[in-house]
Subunit: 355 residues, 4 copies
Amino acid sequence: MKETLKIAIIGCGGIAKAAHIPAYLKSPGAEIKYFCDFNLALAEELVKEHGCGTAVQNYKDILDDPDLDAVSVCTPNHVHASVSIEFLKAGKHVLCEKPAARTYEEALEMQKVAQETGKILLIGVVNRFNTAVNIIKNMIEDGELGELYHIYASFRAHRSIPGLGGAFTTRAISGGGVMIDWGIHYLDIVMYCSGDPKPKTVTAQAYSKLGRDMKEYAYMNMWAGPPKFEGTYDVDDFVTALIRTEGPTISMNGSWAQNIGEEEMYIDFLGDKAGIRLNYGGDFKLFGAKNGALMESTPKFNKQDQFQSEIDAFLNSIRTGEKLPSHIDTVIVSAKMIQAIYDSSEQGKEISFTS
Amino acid sequence: MKETLKIAIIGCGGIAKAAHIPAYLKSPGAEIKYFCDFNLALAEELVKEHGCGTAVQNYKDILDDPDLDAVSVCTPNHVHASVSIEFLKAGKHVLCEKPAARTYEEALEMQKVAQETGKILLIGVVNRFNTAVNIIKNMIEDGELGELYHIYASFRAHRSIPGLGGAFTTRAISGGGVMIDWGIHYLDIVMYCSGDPKPKTVTAQAYSKLGRDMKEYAYMNMWAGPPKFEGTYDVDDFVTALIRTEGPTISMNGSWAQNIGEEEMYIDFLGDKAGIRLNYGGDFKLFGAKNGALMESTPKFNKQDQFQSEIDAFLNSIRTGEKLPSHIDTVIVSAKMIQAIYDSSEQGKEISFTS
Amino acid sequence: MKETLKIAIIGCGGIAKAAHIPAYLKSPGAEIKYFCDFNLALAEELVKEHGCGTAVQNYKDILDDPDLDAVSVCTPNHVHASVSIEFLKAGKHVLCEKPAARTYEEALEMQKVAQETGKILLIGVVNRFNTAVNIIKNMIEDGELGELYHIYASFRAHRSIPGLGGAFTTRAISGGGVMIDWGIHYLDIVMYCSGDPKPKTVTAQAYSKLGRDMKEYAYMNMWAGPPKFEGTYDVDDFVTALIRTEGPTISMNGSWAQNIGEEEMYIDFLGDKAGIRLNYGGDFKLFGAKNGALMESTPKFNKQDQFQSEIDAFLNSIRTGEKLPSHIDTVIVSAKMIQAIYDSSEQGKEISFTS
Amino acid sequence: MKETLKIAIIGCGGIAKAAHIPAYLKSPGAEIKYFCDFNLALAEELVKEHGCGTAVQNYKDILDDPDLDAVSVCTPNHVHASVSIEFLKAGKHVLCEKPAARTYEEALEMQKVAQETGKILLIGVVNRFNTAVNIIKNMIEDGELGELYHIYASFRAHRSIPGLGGAFTTRAISGGGVMIDWGIHYLDIVMYCSGDPKPKTVTAQAYSKLGRDMKEYAYMNMWAGPPKFEGTYDVDDFVTALIRTEGPTISMNGSWAQNIGEEEMYIDFLGDKAGIRLNYGGDFKLFGAKNGALMESTPKFNKQDQFQSEIDAFLNSIRTGEKLPSHIDTVIVSAKMIQAIYDSSEQGKEISFTS
């Protein structure tokens, strides 16, 4: 095994710059060899900024570089599958940003190729490397909550559609809206903490409402750029779902945009001994009872940089072969569930995996 | 029509004393002729306190009094149907406390008798006489929310099981737990405000968890009396549901007891123009947008005593024949939905009314 | 049309530095060619600070530069008219700070020259580019307030005379005190939001009281420099007025200095359906009623930098010829009203424009 | 002079019961001989409650009782003049509730009869007996405010129309709305404290807006009884005025109902040395400067019951002949001003008393 793994960054947008690149740069055993973007200027800027690597416009040009070990796929969602598959087939390990793909079908294809090539395919469900999430997962496994019977995920923002009319809101590119962009993180935490239980039924309804009349859409800010009024808005801005699994049931309400001005971004884990409310991206509270007294506990812990942990684990996995919890073989299940959420919404009825 | 309507109170417990009796006493056109309770002492105390009426132990003794016009049925749930039916058959008008009955089947029988006898049968879904609820209903009808696409009802208390081991927690008496006792009010507000739309599918899961181990159950207070450890606890203390109707979809999470120490008691009405958060039993906020600005609006209004309004409307309905929104013919729909919630929970799958 | 418009800043005091210059510098289509001030050092400092332009002492030296497109007139009020007129006659477009001039007569002369030369003459009534003000204007036009029948403007500060004894408090330079300096902004917002209605009658009384005895004048701070005891104080520090227009009536109370220690800086728009209180320079509240409930609404919106919007609009207006709401042809009306306020005060009687 | 003065209460409504009757009962030198009301039951109830006096339906029946010394006229406004005049002509002293009358003409007639008969005619401008008001009046006379140059009276409530559709809102009965009912008190305090200066000009505009559509009028409470939808609403609910006098100028804004949800009920006295804000019916603050420091002073004093002081002064005046500040000869001036306010509003122009 080489001492230093050679990495290519495929897609040089926000998530690459904010998360993947800084983490690789801090990791002693890795070196970024290529910055790749169809907009070559973006790639060149990064070469200049970091004083390393080569700028590349077409990722196909580096597929055959025998020196390249692994890639981070940070492109828009619609090419997650094709790009990842090409690199796997070229013998490279892949960390692909979430969601795995736009559809379950695409994700299955990715999994198939990963299995055939024997290369690692991780999906960027980065919360599996979050400190609070892992503490909660361990508590649940240790039985501190008793029987975990229900989990409620609330990812409800007021008016927070990103880049109206851009890649995020164009289904052909993104695969969906709030469910696939935010909901995937919530669902993934739910699945991870509850031991990745097999889903049994999924009922859901997704709505595309507030962004439809683009010019009438009022907002305070728009992460992911200003509106493009000539663009497309055909994704879900609100979703509700109820899921039965072999473990707990799961209910969720999520919105990129709703006419309720409260931000409720949390996951509630309901056990018969104790319960936990996790504030997404932050702390959690434990609610239990001891000797007849109700107890509310607030943990304190050092938060690790979850992207650094993810990248370090990816590099380590390449070296050791250890299978990570963000492997496509695990994440494929939530891809199936999200597909079912959209399918149930379209068909207006529950999807069953057991019949 | 007589100037003063003669009333009998059947069941002299909490709701009779707190709500029905004071309202009849303040109503100029009504007179309480009988206080009736199997525990005669309770009835006699009320005769003494209010200086009117006669105490009766067995309601059958007054069925044939030709001078009696109407009754309020304030008994435990398991005799709602039988008592109401006997009085209807005896030619009396009936205001029966919620829920109509323990099961949809019982409720249907009540409706049938009401139709056969031509007598009025109201169910005590008192929020239909609540000022805030009616303002919201009118706003929705006036189109102020635009298209109302989803409603989320949260009736989640921390540890609030009533009278553990008593009538409330014994399914044979009550018909169910948090869903039939609290959820009925939330579901009823949802249905009333959205125009009582026809339900299409119901998926739900109800759990009986925290009250099971009665002696271990810790709590701060217990409305409806102290625990009876020799009693029964076989009702739901948590429920989650997702309902499709011909109008909006409805999601709900409710608990009498959960290991999350936050009280979230509200209903969110999501429209594509504006939305409303109603704090149960209190005020509401309206969230919308005008000329590019997001607007958060707080209403001020005179709150009428909803029980007084309900009783006044009942008495007026007897005189005028006007059909009220709390008539069994309307409320039967939510009885059907609650039955479906329990059925779906038992069967682990969605119930469809359309196939 | 040239791609980049060449600009001269005439007068390099507070408003130039805080508002005009930064806005031109951020605007891609403009370039500051000259900084001009009788105090040459002020101009030279700006050249040095911003690394652009040439410092000029006498504005007459640049009148004939064919490369110069437009000027911002940021001088003391007494030369607003003469400077603007010279630049208009030299074929330049002019953005002149408010007030247009010291008197209505001077303002009329400015308008006449603008019309004769065909050049743009904007007055710096910058609130016409304020986000909140425009939302309110649109709400009023959309009929949200119903009939707008009265507007009350309160611009009452406790002890806030600027630069006692300086240009602000010397009538020969400034044209007046609190009415012409602050009141003009309030009156302008009132006029803009109500559709610039024609005035019918003006009654007013202005007082010059608290600054008279300069050495006795106590204050907490003095924006626009320390007192010059050898200077002049002959302007109004309190004004009250009642105006009838073809639209709403307007009442106002304003003070630079009064012996009431409350700051009440707001405009109330009274409509028969709803009303708005605008806190000057900040947010507003909407008060209305819906379905029997009184509603108090708080808007949230992105506040644009109003000076940037004003400058951008000026530059755009030069390019496209679009007539802006701050054009002298509109602003002349409030100049007439302010003149009438001072005239009515001197004569002790109402001024009528209709007889 | 008799030791005990015999009194008749003419009109047994709210103000009689809350103010006049308790004050007479506490006064050792007075005895209520008659309670008079066209609704005899009201009068009889008071006889029974207080164990004194005789109930009378028609006041004409007691005009000739030689034992009767004085009357309090507490009727609706439209008979203030006629009733007071008849009792004056019958040789009785009269304390007539404010306003003196519906119009200046009626008030002048009252004054004429008072002068002809030599009997006392007081008007119930009770604030002239208010402790805070008298302290302020004394401060002003002592020169503590320096030159008093302007007074601003704000009597602005949100939604406070009394008894919509009743006597208060029917001009033929009341003579007007917020100006004559509330404004009279504010104007009277202004006049009293500034030494009852002669008015020179009056400009005003009164509006009748929010109560017009009675069924749509939303409110929190309605002092003076519930709405009578079949009744009349033709009075002012908003008024603005600017008055010049031989002393200070006066501006005012008042509303029974406006779409601004702030209650601003105060009078500001602006002097060149100091100023006072009096919160109506409560305390006041003094704002001044001493030795270069701004001073805000809050007085503390014993508040006398102003109605008791008024009645005691009336009784004393009968005995001693002392002329009181609430005598018709003084109050006639504000009657003239209120008439001018309504006249100016109708004519849309300033009324001058000097030309």
